[in-house]
């Protein structure tokens, strides 16, 4: 018996348990979504998705993710660099504050922006006077999404950076590389999987966020609906099949990003 892997029966048992759990908790709901989405056939499926309201919702969702993900990526890299590479006072406090948006109920994440930018809010009167609409308009939706997905990238990067330590960077610096060079040539290649996972997680969550966005959106058909809100609207109109069709788009989006990830991964391995 080899001490670096498990006996065959243990491996099979572990795989079986993992797959069973995965099947019940992930595959079955996924199947359920697609099962309902196609229960009225392809034609109906395509028809629902080409509805102007559905297209508008998709645009809104993509725009939101395009703004939110890059911002949180830059933040995630900066925050993990500061936290992992240096020892400073209040580091644990900072870490906990970064996690905070995750534990804030989505309802509250939306509400705080209403309290800030709503007509009765802190900046409300000024915004109204200058005719600037933040909540119940796209900026509010984007803000709420940034808030909700705030820690996603940082959370991915911190453990991976930590497990790698700083020796390589220190070596590069001692050999005369500049700070930025070290960062781009040593750190980034080392954490690229973390970055990729982070982007994927952050993007998925940004596109799928429902609770917080629902509070700040105003639910105006064709104008301030994201795809998840569109799903809710259809569901509440008893158009169950259409609702699941829209939901399946989000599921497909996730699957496509993940296939892209796998392809990149394989290309890199082949290049080596």
């Amino acid at each position: 018996m080899n001490a670096q892997t498990e006996p065959r029966f243990v491996r099979i048992a572990l795989i079986t348990i993992a797959l069973a759990f995965f099947g019940v908790f992930v595959l079955l709901p996924l199947f359920c979504v697609f099962f309902h989405a196609f229960s009225k056939g392809w034609v109906y499926y395509v028809q629902t998705l080409r509805h102007p309201d559905a297209l508008a919702a998709m645009r809104m969702t993509v725009t939101t993710a395009l703004v939110a993900v890059p911002l949180n990526l830059v933040f995630g890299v900066a925050a993990s660099w500061a936290i992992v590479k240096f020892d400073f006072k209040g580091k644990n406090l900072l870490l906990s504050l970064i996690d905070l948006p995750l534990s804030v109920s989505p309802v509250i994440s939306g509400l705080v922006f209403i309290l800030l930018f709503g007509a009765q809010g802190y900046f409300g009167p000024w915004l109204v006077a200058h005719n600037i609409q933040i909540v119940f308009a796209p900026p509010g939706i984007i803000l709420a999404t940034i808030f909700v997905t705030f820690p996603m990238v940082a959370r991915e990067l911190i453990p991976i950076m930590r497990s790698q330590g700083s020796e390589e960077e220190e070596a590069a610096l001692t050999l005369g590389a500049s700070g930025w060079e070290t960062f781009w040539r040593v750190t980034i290649p080392n954490i690229r999987w973390g970055i990729l996972y982070g982007i994927i997680l952050c993007n998925a969550r940004a596109m799928g966020e429902f609770g917080a966005v629902s509070v700040v959106s105003g639910h105006i058909r064709g104008l301030t609906n994201t795809l998840p809100l569109h799903v809710e609207i259809l569901y509440n109109e008893y158009q169950f099949t259409a609702a699941f069709a829209a939901a399946s788009v989000l599921a497909l989006l996730a699957i496509v990003t993940l296939i892209a990830k796998t392809t990149v991964e394989m290309a890199i391995k082949r290049g080596r």
Partner: protein, 278 residues
């Protein structure tokens, strides 16, 4: 001050990275969240205390934190197992499983709630078998736990996976050549390395579960004192235009979860420090 704010390091970029981190954090998180405290401050201390310690609020807190804890525990065990299987073993369909791990995140929570209710309702595909076994799936704390397990799974898998992938095979070889058996290697060598990430994943799943609304309201049943989660209580306060009461419950939740997050981070820090010294 005898001790410096930051330990000397040869690495550059401390002020830039920390400066940006703090700036962005304040802008996106701290300033908006401070509004909660401002709004709550419009209540008297007694009023605040009455709201957060009323029997109904306490029951909701208990339910939200309890189900989140149980589901995070389930996810820690099975999420670790899934990550392990994905990184270490090969089996047919592995790439597909790997790709689908993020599915619960990508699915809008409302859809998740609807799909899960559909599955676990007494007339659902799985609910009918649970019903035969005398277990009420949907519309009970079991249903809430199921929803939160679904929501939280990717957090554990995705935080543990990269660390497992990066694990230096030499460590295991060394352990093996020193005569450790497989179980000892896993327990003494591998587990300590992945523990911080596992804890992080557990904490994330737990924290996310506490506040979850969209997926839970469909499956919870929403009965006062029994299956009424804390975020729903916030919604009912808002419905009465009682912003102060709503923010008071939110602040209560926030303080408890902040305390939990802080302790988890502290534990993680402790364990990674121990690892660094070893």
């Amino acid at each position: 001050m005898s001790k410096r704010f930051v330990e000397r390091s040869i690495l550059p970029g401390f002020s830039l990275s920390l400066g940006f981190t703090v700036f962005y954090l304040s802008l996106i998180v701290l300033i908006p969240l401070s509004m909660l405290f401002f709004k709550t401050a419009s209540m008297s201390w007694g009023g605040f205390w009455e709201v957060v310690t009323s029997a109904r609020t306490l029951a909701a807190y208990r339910l939200s934190f309890g189900t989140a804890l149980v589901s995070a525990g389930i996810n820690a065990v099975f999420g670790l197992l899934i990550a392990w299987v994905l990184v270490r073993y090969s089996f047919p369909g592995k790439k597909i499983v790997d790709a689908l791990v993020d599915f619960p995140l990508a699915l809008p929570t409302a859809v998740a709630g609807i799909a899960l209710t559909e599955l676990y309702a007494p007339n659902g595909w799985l609910g009918r078998y649970l019903a035969l076994a005398g277990i009420k799936g949907a519309f009970s704390p079991v249903g809430i736990t199921i929803a939160l397990t679904f929501i939280g799974l990717p957090f554990v898998v995705r935080t543990v996976e990269p660390v497992l992938e990066d694990l230096d095979p030499q460590l295991e070889e060394a352990a093996a050549s020193l005569g450790a058996n497989r179980w000892q290697t896993i327990r003494k060598v591998i587990f300590p390395v992945i523990f911080p990430a596992l804890l992080a994943g557990f904490t994330l799943a737990f924290a996310r579960g506490i506040g979850e609304y969209g997926s839970v309201i469909f499956i919870a049943g929403n009965m006062p004192m029994k299956t009424e989660i804390a975020p729903l209580l916030i919604m009912t306060k808002l419905e009465q235009y009682d912003y102060a009461g709503a923010t008071a419950i939110a602040v209560g939740m926030l303080l408890i979860s902040f305390f939990l997050l802080a302790s988890a981070n502290f534990l993680q820090w402790l364990s990674s420090r121990k690892l660094g010294k070893a």
